[in-house]
């Protein structure tokens, strides 16, 4: 047992995927902590390593992937130990993923898939597990749970199925929920409902929540703290308020500019120009350099490290933004949810 005062503590985590064309460095030196009842948002573009980070936190990095360095501690126990991870998954940490329709086996009933987790981790029989599953469905807003338990995933709409997945994830009273883009596959109205459900469950149950998304709008109302991930590194962290109103890292600012608003149907998103770097050749410079409007020569020769700054926030940038109010970002967005 290693000393850690946090529920989850990730220290200098490095995850690599060796491929024929070179080693992909998917997560590079990431550190963060999550305390009981806290909600953390992890935001980044596609390919920034969000899912890899989530899987690592569940002890689920599979070959060819490998944890090349660092520690993941869950209440002081290392999740790098497969046996520890197996006992904790589903029981103490659980997960909700992106596509609810693909998340459960299409050929087993909802009831079977909800109860199989409970009978394994809790000391209860099948009958009791079914009763509990019905109660859980009711709690996540699914009417007529008795009938629903006998149905298959394809008989549910996307939003309803995501509620089922959430109910299943919470069935063993975990202490932490990792939600990896839980609303990405859903339509806008349903997205808001599912987010609201996750937020309210988190508060009611005192859950720790790690909410992963590529969409800043999603985490705005749901999370106390945010981490912005770029090319496998945390480039900025702080409270939602800080990041929304005074982004210091140019990438955070760019993300804000490209964020669609849940309440307004945008015709076009302002996408961030350029592409994320090739993760097989990173390091030795700021990975945002080619896309950064503020890049200087130093940015191309030296990699900025995450520096703590005022009021608990931190950023990794040689030329941080001055802390102006970003005028095009309405406060309403931050208050969403």
């Amino acid at each position: 047992m290693i000393r850690s005062d946090h529920l989850l503590e990730v220290r200098n985590l490095e995850v690599v995927f060796p491929t024929r064309e070179g080693t992909v460095q998917a997560v590079r030196g990431v550190s963060f902590t999550v305390d009981a009842g806290e909600s953390l948002g992890v935001v980044g573009e596609s390919g920034s390593g969000k899912s890899t980070l989530a899987r690592a936190a569940l002890g689920m990095i599979e070959l060819p992937g490998r944890i090349a360095g660092g520690e993941i501690l869950w209440r002081g126990r290392s999740l790098l130990d497969k046996r520890v991870a197996r006992r904790i998954r589903g029981r103490e940490i659980s997960m909700v993923s992106q596509d609810p329709m693909a998340s459960m086996s299409p050929i087993l009933t909802i009831g079977t898939q909800m109860t199989e987790v409970m009978t394994r981790h809790l000391d209860i029989g099948r009958r009791e597990a079914f009763t509990r599953a019905g109660d859980l469905l009711e709690k996540v807003g699914i009417p007529d749970p008795g009938r629903r338990l006998g149905q298959y995933p394809f008989e549910f709409s996307g939003g309803m199925q995501q509620r089922v997945v959430i109910a299943t994830a919470l069935s063993c009273d975990p202490m932490m929920l990792i939600a990896d883009e839980p609303t990405t596959a859903l339509d806008v109205t349903t997205q808001a409902q599912i987010l609201e459900l996750i937020s309210s469950l988190q508060k009611d149950l005192g859950l720790a929540l790690v909410l992963i998304t590529h969409d800043l709008g999603v985490v705005a109302g749901a999370c106390d703290l945010l981490k912005v991930l770029y090319a496998g590194e945390i480039v900025e962290s702080g409270t939602a308020d800080q990041l929304f109103h005074r982004p210091r890292h140019p990438y955070t600012a760019a993300l804000l500019g490209s964020t669609p608003r849940l309440d307004v149907k945008a015709d076009r998103l302002m996408a961030i120009e350029g592409h994320p770097p090739d993760l097989r050749h990173v390091g030795g410079r700021c990975s945002f350099t080619p896309r950064c409007p503020h890049a200087t020569t130093r940015c191309t020769t030296e990699s900025p490290v995450l520096q703590p700054s005022e009021a608990g926030r931190a950023y990794a940038c040689w030329n941080p933004l001055g802390g102006r109010e970003a005028p095009e970002l309405p406060t309403a967005r931050a208050g969403h949810g």
Partner: protein, 309 residues
């Protein structure tokens, strides 16, 4: 479900009748049963008499009509060789075939499933590579050749099993194994690839994240999915074993089933008996087909009876 079954049953009857018509026409076209049955010194009168007895002097369409009408009542005529109802001969020889097919098929499916599951769990590992090689061998080696090699090796060489005939379980082992080998190969290959697909599916990864145990994921989640893919193949395998493999293996091992009987009937130009064997096999094949479809529909909730029919 009732309507679906009714539809399938009437289709099955049509299939059996079509098979009988084809066999009837083909046997009339290629062989002259009367010439074979009579001794060499028979006269033209003897010949006409026998033709009349057998009804072969009438127009072929009339013969066919009578034949089908009788067959529907399970009257297939008398075996020319054994001089008694052909259907009796076939039904008498059926139990040994059913026993052999059941043993060979179960052996093939069970071993195939085990090999498929184990190799699908770790594709590329040494178990997998061995299994794939074995599977390909089982699929590609001709059965009569394996049958003979086994006799030479296990019966003549080691003296473990009798070379041929029927009797106790020791007579059953070699023919059942030879009959089942191609099934092992194909079931293993199909199960392996669908296990690999299933285990890589998102729902398996997510089940791990929800805390479902590895053993349950393999034995319930993945295997049920892979099983649905394998069951269609298994149905075809059973049909292949019954309608093809059994004839070869029974002949090599002189196993007194309908396959061996069919070979004997062909040697003796007993077209009535050959037709009777084909009739019974055709009925079994269409029955298996229906059972497989129903099983498939019941296993896979995404397929509904109305959509299949």
């Amino acid at each position: 479900m009732g309507r679906y079954l009714l539809k399938r049953l009437s289709q099955a009857v049509l299939v059996v009748i079509s098979v009988m018509v084809v066999v009837f026409v083909v046997t009339r076209l290629i062989g002259d049963p009367v010439a074979v049955m009579l001794p060499l010194e028979a006269t033209e009168e003897n010949r006409a008499l026998l033709e009349a007895q057998l009804g072969l002097d009438r127009p072929i369409l009339a013969q066919l009509g009578d034949y089908v009408a009788d067959a529907v009542r399970f009257d297939l005529g008398d075996s020319l060789w054994q001089r008694r109802p052909a259907i009796d001969v076939v039904l008498e020889r059926l139990p040994p075939t059913v026993l052999l097919v059941a043993a060979g098929f179960s052996f093939g499916v069970l071993l195939g499933l085990v090999i498929g599951i184990v190799s699908g769990m770790r594709p590329g590992g040494w178990v997998d590579r061995g299994a794939v090689t074995l599977g390909l061998l089982g699929v590609s080696l001709p059965q009569f050749w394996i049958g003979l090699v086994f006799i030479v090796f296990f019966s003549v060489g080691l003296g473990w099993f009798p070379t041929s005939g029927s009797g106790g379980i020791e007579h059953l082992v070699l023919p059942a194994v030879v009959l089942g080998l191609p099934v092992v190969g194909r079931i293993a290959l199909v199960t392996r690839s669908s296990m690999i697909d299933e285990l890589n599916a998102q729902h398996v990864k997510d089940a791990t994240g929800r805390g479902v145990s590895r053993s349950r994921i393999v034995m319930v989640h993945a295997l049920k999915g892979a099983g649905i893919a394998s069951i269609t193949i298994a149905g075809w395998e059973l049909i292949g074993v019954l309608a093809g493999g059994a004839v070869v293996v029974e002949t090599v091992y002189a196993w007194p089933g309908i396959g061996f009987t069919a070979m004997q009937a062909i040697e003796r130009h007993d077209i009535i008996l050959v037709q009777a064997v084909v009739f019974v096999v055709a009925i079994m094949v269409v029955t298996i087909n229906i059972i497989v479809d129903v099983a498939y529909t019941m296993l896979d909730p995404r397929v509904k009876f109305d959509r299949v029919s």
